[in-house]
């Protein structure tokens, strides 16, 4: 069989497939690799489209938030990647637990270093793992560190917008500065199992 015999099937459009000039700058090489994998399998994604407040001050101001790396709109799932060593992911695990407590309706998957390694092994790219993981994989300067929670912070305060269990509010729905608007790639037809 020649390449000409092959059929390229675009069952969905991703930003990369569309040549979207707004393709984001990824904070980490592993995220860029994940985006390429999602593109390859025609899974639409948005990069850090939503910010979820997870901790408020007593004055009701958001002091800590969580912005999952990817949102896959067709699957309605968030994907958070961390390629740090397992013992270093405590803070992220804590934030994720908090997120799940406050927004139980959202579906989020945490992709650990071991998951990324397994994915690279599956795709025959194990040799690249080291360069795509941990501090080696950071492709832009680290974003400003978020304030560590302290004991005088409570969440959520009575005056703060309490997240409903059914449909968690996104920052755009909350008072205060609006986050960047979510980029919504083109919708694609996808037949489901009968």
């Amino acid at each position: 069989m020649t390449l000409a015999d092959e059929t390229v099937v675009e069952v969905a459009a991703s930003p990369a497939a569309l040549g979207d000039p707004a393709r984001p700058t990824f904070a980490h090489a592993s995220e860029a690799e994940m985006a390429r994998i999602l593109d390859f399998y025609a899974v639409r994604w948005a990069y850090e489209p939503d910010v979820f407040p997870i901790l408020w001050s007593v004055d009701g101001e958001v002091v800590e938030s969580f912005s999952p790396d990817f949102y896959l709109p067709d699957l309605d799932v968030y994907l958070e990647m961390t390629t740090l060593r397992q013992r270093l992911v405590r803070k992220k695990n804590r934030k994720l637990r908090r997120l799940r407590e406050l927004y139980p309706a959202i579906n989020i998957k945490l992709f650990y270093a071991r998951d990324f390694r397994a994915l690279m092994l599956k795709y025959g790219k194990l040799a690249l793992v080291e360069s795509l993981s941990g501090s080696s994989g950071q492709v832009v300067p680290e974003r400003p560190a978020e304030a560590e929670p302290s004991t005088n912070l409570v969440a959520p305060p009575a005056a703060a917008p309490a997240p409903p269990a059914e449909a968690p509010p996104r920052l755009a729905d909350l008072p205060g500065p609006r986050p960047p608007s979510r980029r919504r790639p083109r919708t694609a037809e996808a037949r489901r199992l009968p």
Binding site: E6, T7, V9, F40, V77, K122, L126
Partner: protein, 188 residues
């Protein structure tokens, strides 16, 4: 690489013996035959890993059955860099419109390939489209997929044998085993 492959010695642990596999495949055949009683089934094997599974499964199914084969490129494979998109390397040879189709997979982990296939085959308007997998590794799932028939749910380990490969080797093992990590770490 090929000269250094020790088919059995590279296996750290036998996860599923040949007998366990054959017993379970026969059970799946009975279950599928009952579910599709009075109907005609089209089995679609996703090359290359599911070939042994489908070969055994089809002989355990007692309803009239057609078979067809599909192959899609894998991320990281030879065709990845050219387009960046998954390719259908081998498409179905016959129409499945209105047919009862059962996709036979060797293993489901992330679900990315299967998610693509479901959408692709769904576009061919089958009467029904269901999923049968020999192995399910739910710990790796990125895309949630309803699996209708599962042979075994396995732990999060890299397995080969009974169709599953590493660098195209180990497919011909009659059992499913965990590949010793030094095999793929030394291969780098």
């Amino acid at each position: 690489m090929s000269a250094n492959v020790d088919l059995v010695g590279d296996i750290g642990e036998v996860l599923l013996t040949e007998a366990q596999i054959q017993t379970r495949v026969a059970e799946l055949g009975v279950e599928i035959s009952a579910d599709y009683a009075g109907r005609r089934l089209t089995l679609v094997s996703v090359l290359k890993g599911s070939l042994p599974f489908m070969a055994d499964l089809m002989r355990s199914i007692t309803v009239p059955t057609r078979i067809d084969l599909m192959e899609v490129s894998s991320y990281g494979g030879a065709t990845t860099e050219s387009s960046g998109l998954v390719r259908i390397l081998k498409d179905l040879s016959a129409s499945i419109e209105g047919e009862d189709v059962l996709i036979c997979e060797d293993i489901i982990d992330t679900g990315l390939t299967l998610n693509y296939l479901i959408r692709y085959l769904g576009g061919k308007r089958p009467g029904t489209l269901r999923i049968c997998t020999l192995l399910d590794k739910p710990a790796r799932r990125l895309v949630e997929i309803k699996v209708d028939y599962t042979g075994f749910t396995i732990p999060d380990q890299f397995v080969v044998g009974y169709g599953l490969d590493y660098n195209e080797h180990y497919r011909n093992l009659r059992f499913v085993g965990v590949l010793r990590p030094e095999v793929y770490t030394s291969a780098g």
